[in-house]
């Protein structure tokens, strides 16, 4: 039986009267890429914020690598890496300086942070631009730096919140390859995206959220087979069938 690395039980979070997350439960196995899908406002980012210790849940339990997020937040932060939905970079600094700084924040020594920064930059195809100011990078390059920073400190669990938004196919492909490469090395990944083909390609299992709840969770194949032939229907068809076609805020 696969080892559960992340376990979420009956998670709740409200902002005033609005229930952003309403009884979410799921688990992610070690080395698995797990997709968290849903329309805007479904509660994905709020869930990730709770998992990454930024936000405290109103109730429910989260365990990551055997550590309780509520009681052992520091231990949890030692083993996670977060690639936020919006770029979170110091644009006035170089790519290398950004990475070394976040490496130091992740507890690395100066030399170690520098070495890993160079390795990650190579991985992202940006080693030539290591000393270039991030402000002068293209959108795709910034996205890759955003991901590379999340890898500083050798995390065991990576939260990727829509890491491929607004970038060209080349950069997106580079990110896919890197994610699959990280999985091969044993990293556990929680992935959110609005691109269904991306989730179909990368994730072993996906959970579809809407209205703060998980409305369906399975492998992409099984989800597709619920509404037709898995070879003919797409994950987007499943998504639209489950969440409806009405526009969201």
């Amino acid at each position: 039986m696969a080892e559960e690395f992340l376990v979420v039980k009956d998670l709740h979070k409200s902002f005033n009267e609005f229930k952003a997350v309403n009884g979410v439960s799921f688990s992610i196995n070690k080395g698995e890429i797990f997709g968290l899908l849903g329309p805007n406002g479904a509660g994905k980012t709020t869930t990730i914020r709770m998992l990454s210790t930024v936000l405290q849940s109103d109730s429910g339990d989260i365990t990551i690598g055997g550590h309780s997020v509520r009681n052992e937040a520091e231990a949890v932060r030692n083993i996670i890496g977060v690639c936020p939905q919006d770029l979170a970079l110091y644009e006035d600094l170089s790519a290398l300086d950004n990475m070394v700084f976040f490496g130091r924040m992740a507890g690395m020594g100066g030399k170690e942070a520098h070495e890993q920064a160079m390795t990650n930059l190579k991985l992202m195809g940006l080693v030539e631009r290591a000393k270039g100011k991030v402000a002068k990078f293209s959108g795709g390059m910034k996205r890759r730096i955003n991901l590379a920073i999340a890898l500083m400190g050798h995390p065991q669990l990576l939260f990727l919140d829509e890491p491929t938004v607004g970038i060209d196919p080349q950069s997106r492909n580079n990110i896919y390859e890197n994610i699959l490469g990280l999985q091969k090395k044993g990293m556990t990944i929680l992935y959110t995206t609005h691109y269904m083909e991306e989730a179909d390609r990368l994730c072993q299992r996906v959970a579809i959220m809407d209205g703060g709840q998980i409305i369906s969770m399975d492998t992409p194949y099984h989800l597709k087979s619920q509404i037709g032939s898995p070879e003919k229907v797409t994950l987007e068809d499943v998504f639209l069938k489950l969440t409806g076609r009405s526009l969201r805020d």
């Binding site: 210790t53 932060r77 970079l89 976040f102």
Partner: protein, 392 residues
């Protein structure tokens, strides 16, 4: 704590990258100092033009004008009566000396003559000083008249020519002026002009307070960039983040003050080495208090504009109430309200050192207040800080 220092270093690095911020932070104190030097450097003597309407145009009015013109720093400007009236009407002048047409004639006849100060309101500060100087000149003339009349009355009927009496009176008065019964000696205790002593503390405290606005923006900028949330998913805890930001704000305020103090030390020579060190200590503690207030604003503000405005309002409020550019008299309502301003304590401490020649020991009370604000401000800001609504 190590991570807090990385935050500080990163902040300094970002500060150095932002040329506009750097110019504001480092060049502005130097420019301010240059302006101060241009305005006050080496010029401590009162200088003014004395507007005079001479309707007499005779011997004694000419003598009065000549004596006035001899006073150091005073230049007499002769006006017609209508010119003077027009200028007074327009407030171009606040005080004019009118010498009436019968001035000499009245004095010669032995009667009492009268000069007139025409002024708007109280004549303004410069007018009051001028009036005081003119009164001094008139006092001298009165003394001469007194001596001359006394001499004449003593020698009347003794056949001594008028010329000889005049020469004797002149010799007597010259001797009296050279060796007055009551003299005034000037003791120079330092090369420091009063203006600098008065205004330097205000300029220093104002610059430190600028850093309040900048530190108020620091966390909001971090939030806008998205790096705040990212930082809080690393091993960095919120306290380390706060200490790091706080230290960078203190450093920024302190560096600006340091520039001003070093330039003042070198150019105006208003410090001894000990008083210079004492001023640095005060700057450091004041910068800490201002930074802590900035951190409270940073914790409350949701946007950079919001942080800037709150910071600017705080700064103006404290500069106005804290006696930065004018001394607030003890016991007034303004002095009571001014107790809430950090500047009150910083100015008090700086003036004790710079203007009164006191030691650091004499500033313990205001320094204790500033240090208290720094500690309490930092704790309050941490308690109300949330990285995201409902978050840590």
């Amino acid at each position: 704590m190590k991570r807090a220092l990385f935050i500080t270093l990163n902040e300094v690095r970002l500060y150095l990258q932002d040329k506009a911020d750097l110019a504001f932070g480092l060049l502005l104190p130097i420019i301010t100092f240059a302006l101060m030097y241009g305005a006050f450097g080496g010029q401590t003597m009162f200088k003014a033009t004395a507007p005079v309407v001479n309707e007499d145009r005779d011997a004694y009015s000419a003598q009065l004008i000549e004596q006035l013109d001899k006073v150091e720093g005073i230049k007499v400007e002769l006006l017609t009566a209508s010119e003077a009236d027009t200028k007074l009407e327009k407030s171009d002048l606040l005080l004019v000396l009118f010498i009436p047409s019968n001035f000499t004639e009245t004095l010669v006849s032995g009667d009492k003559a009268e000069l007139v100060f025409k002024q708007r309101g109280n004549g303004g500060q410069e007018g009051q000083i001028l009036a005081s100087i003119i009164r001094g000149v008139i006092e001298n003339m009165n003394q001469e008249f007194l001596v001359r009349n006394q001499m004449r009355s003593n020698l009347e009927g003794k056949g001594i020519p008028e010329n000889s009496i005049e020469v004797t009176v002149k010799e007597y008065l010259d001797k009296e002026r050279q060796q007055p019964a009551v003299g005034v000696a000037e003791e120079v205790t330092g090369g420091s002009p009063d203006f600098i002593n008065q205004y330097l503390p205000g300029i220093i405290t104002m610059y430190v307070l600028f850093s309040l606005t900048l530190s108020a923006r620091a966390i909001v900028e971090e939030r806008r960039r998205g790096t705040l949330e990212r930082l809080l998913t690393t091993r960095l805890n919120a306290w380390e983040l706060f200490i790091g930001k706080f230290l960078s704000s203190v450093a920024r305020g302190f560096v600006q003050t340091f520039i001003l103090l070093v330039l003042s030390y070198a150019v105006f020579r208003i410090f001894t080495p000990l008083s210079f060190l004492a001023s640095l200590v005060i700057s450091l503690i004041f910068a800490a208090a201002a930074a802590a207030l900035g951190m409270i604003i940073a914790s409350v503000a949701r946007s950079e504009d919001g942080a800037t405005w709150i910071g600017v309002v705080f700064t103006m409020f404290m500069v106005m109430l804290g006696g930065t550019f004018f001394q607030v008299s003890e016991g007034t309502i303004l002095a009571t309200i001014g107790k809430v301003s950090l500047n009150t304590y910083a100015n008090e401490a700086f003036r004790t050192i710079i203007a009164k020649g006191g030691s650091l020991g004499d500033t313990l009370q205001p320094l204790a207040v500033l240090a208290g604000v720094a500690v309490v401000g930092l704790i309050i800001s941490r308690l109300i800080f949330r990285a995201v609504p409902g978050g840590k």
